[in-house]
């Protein structure tokens, strides 16, 4: 589904990602795990073509990202935007229906129906008209996920969807992601809570100081590998 070959992304002098390669399978729930600063967000942005890459190749569904852009849905970190922006929940979810080709046309009835449906899937259909500045952290995350769902994509890339959200939201989102996998979607999630990795993900991409490891959770998510990936910063699990 997602094949990365010899990818290097540098930020000024720093080699955030240096010559990494991996191949992730389709129709799986994949956890992207790594220490702070190991380049998880950078990797997602690189895959989505949001950062210049110094070397390497990214193939999604066998194509370059430009050609499959309408089949991808990216969920940025919740705190990447200003939630005081004057907009309603529905405004944000409708963004999910935007495509460059039809950008200047009005939203169709179909777009609005899909947006409402997406809000129902994340169980906040009643908040459609609410201003986004009035939302809790968990509700904000649900709105972001609803926007991605509204794209009706095949591949979903989520950046820390469980960061600082309530338990109910985490459960709702997780159940939804599992349902999506059952209907054939491919989902990669940047995740920081090591306690839930085994329960949540079929497959793990572990970012290490000297490269990456990818494989079934049981094979990759081992104390030895984690010690290497997190060094002294690893607590007890």
């Amino acid at each position: 589904m997602l094949k990365v070959t010899n990818l290097s992304i540098h930020y000024r002098e720093r080699k955030v990602l240096d010559n990494i390669s991996f191949d992730l399978p389709a129709r799986q729930l994949i956890g992207i795990i790594g220490a702070n600063g190991s380049g998880k967000t950078t990797l997602l942005k690189g895959i989505m073509g949001l950062l210049p890459i110094q070397a390497g190749k990214v193939e999604i569904l066998g194509e370059s990202w430009e050609r499959v852009r309408d089949r991808l849905a990216y969920v940025p970190q919740r705190n990447a935007v200003d939630w005081d922006f004057p907009a309603s929940v529905l405004d944000v979810v409708l963004m999910g229906r935007l495509k460059p080709r039809t950008f200047f046309s009005r939203y169709t009835a179909e777009d609005k129906r899909i947006a409402q449906e997406s809000l129902e899937q994340v169980q906040i259909a009643d908040l459609a008209q609410r201003q986004i500045s009035k939302l809790s952290g968990g509700q904000q995350q649900r709105v972001f996920l609803a926007r991605a769902l509204a794209r009706k994509a095949d591949v979903y890339l989520l950046d820390e969807p469980f960061a600082a959200v309530d338990m109910a939201t985490e459960q709702t989102i997780m159940e939804l992601l599992q349902t999506m996998r059952e209907v054939g979607k491919s989902i990669a999630v940047v995740h920081h809570d090591l306690n839930t990795v085994t329960a949540y993900f079929d497959y793990v991409l572990l970012l290490m100081p000297d490269g990456v490891l990818a494989g079934k959770t049981a094979d990759i998510f081992t104390p030895t590998n984690l010690q290497k990936a997190f060094g002294g910063r690893l607590g007890t699990i």
Binding site: L50, Y74, D82, F85, P86, D91, P100
Partner: protein
């Protein structure tokens, strides 16, 4: 009198509407920078064409406006300067250059420093040509904002996401800054290079205090802009002082009243 009020309203509303987007993008200072930086462009155009209010002057100054937007971006990305430092460096340099140029060639053309800094609405009835310009500006700004509404809103709210679905954030950034350049240059003759900033910032900032709805914010900013034009005109005539200056003063008072109102009502609830 009505011509002055009409000219003032056209300037105020055009800039207030654009200002809403600058406030939302947290780029108000870029608008400030543009309004100052166009000065050398304007002076140069005066000098070359020996006349005011012609199309070449407007185009030339607008180009300088877009140039400084680009310069600010460049300083940020290539010289790794912070945005505020990049803005401060670019616009003070260009504005100073403009001031020096006015002093240097000021006696050769009809252009004095007071006029550049404060503009003069009071001359409008004697020469109505600027009125057509301002009318054109108003229609242009409204058309631009109507067409660009979606592009500005998605790239302002979530630039990363917009880029991920293939919408150019740079395009909309430069489109807005280009519009601000045009608006600043068109307004310059009426209200001057400094006070135009008040119209860009204050109505939008006041409206932003009072509402969480984008359409209401745009609407309120227009109301505040119009109030300041009419109130400022009355004040200016009464005190026999600069009209643009008293309009900007009324804007400041409006903001303080809105802020006070907000504090009072919040205190009650």
């Amino acid at each position: 009198m009505w011509l002055i009020l009409l000219a003032g309203s056209l300037v105020a509303v055009s800039n207030a509407l654009l200002g809403c987007w600058l406030v939302l993008r947290k780029s108000v200072l870029v608008g400030d920078a543009i309004s100052h930086a166009v000065l050398p462009g304007i002076v140069l155009a005066y000098w070359i064409t020996q006349s005011r209010g012609n199309t070449y002057m407007l185009i030339g100054a607008s180009i300088v406006g877009i140039l400084i937007t680009w310069l600010i971006e460049l300083l940020q990305s290539k010289a790794t300067m912070q945005q505020d430092a990049a803005i401060g460096l670019s616009f003070t340099f260009l504005f100073a250059l403009g001031v020096v140029m006015v002093a240097w060639i000021g006696d050769k053309v009809d252009l004095d420093q007071d006029c550049v800094l404060y503009g003069d609405l009071a001359y409008i009835p004697l020469d109505t040509r600027p009125l057509w310009q301002l009318g054109g500006l108003f229609v242009g700004v409204c058309t631009f904002l109507y067409v660009a509404h979606k592009g500005l809103w998605v790239t302002t709210f979530d630039a990363t996401y917009s880029a991920s679905i293939g919408i150019s954030t740079a395009f909309w950034h430069y489109a807005l800054m280009g519009a601000v350049s045009f608006s600043t240059v068109f307004s310059f003759e009426a209200v001057g290079a400094v006070l135009v900033v008040a119209f860009l910032v204050v109505p939008a900032a006041t409206a932003y205090l009072l509402t969480e709805n984008l359409r209401k914010m745009l609407f309120l900013s227009v109301i505040f802009a119009l109030l300041s034009v009419f109130g400022g005109y009355a004040l200016g005539v009464w005190w026999n002082t600069s009209l643009a200056g008293s309009m900007a003063t009324v804007l400041g008072v409006e903001f303080m009243l809105a802020f006070g109102y907000l504090r009072l009502t919040n205190g009650q609830s």
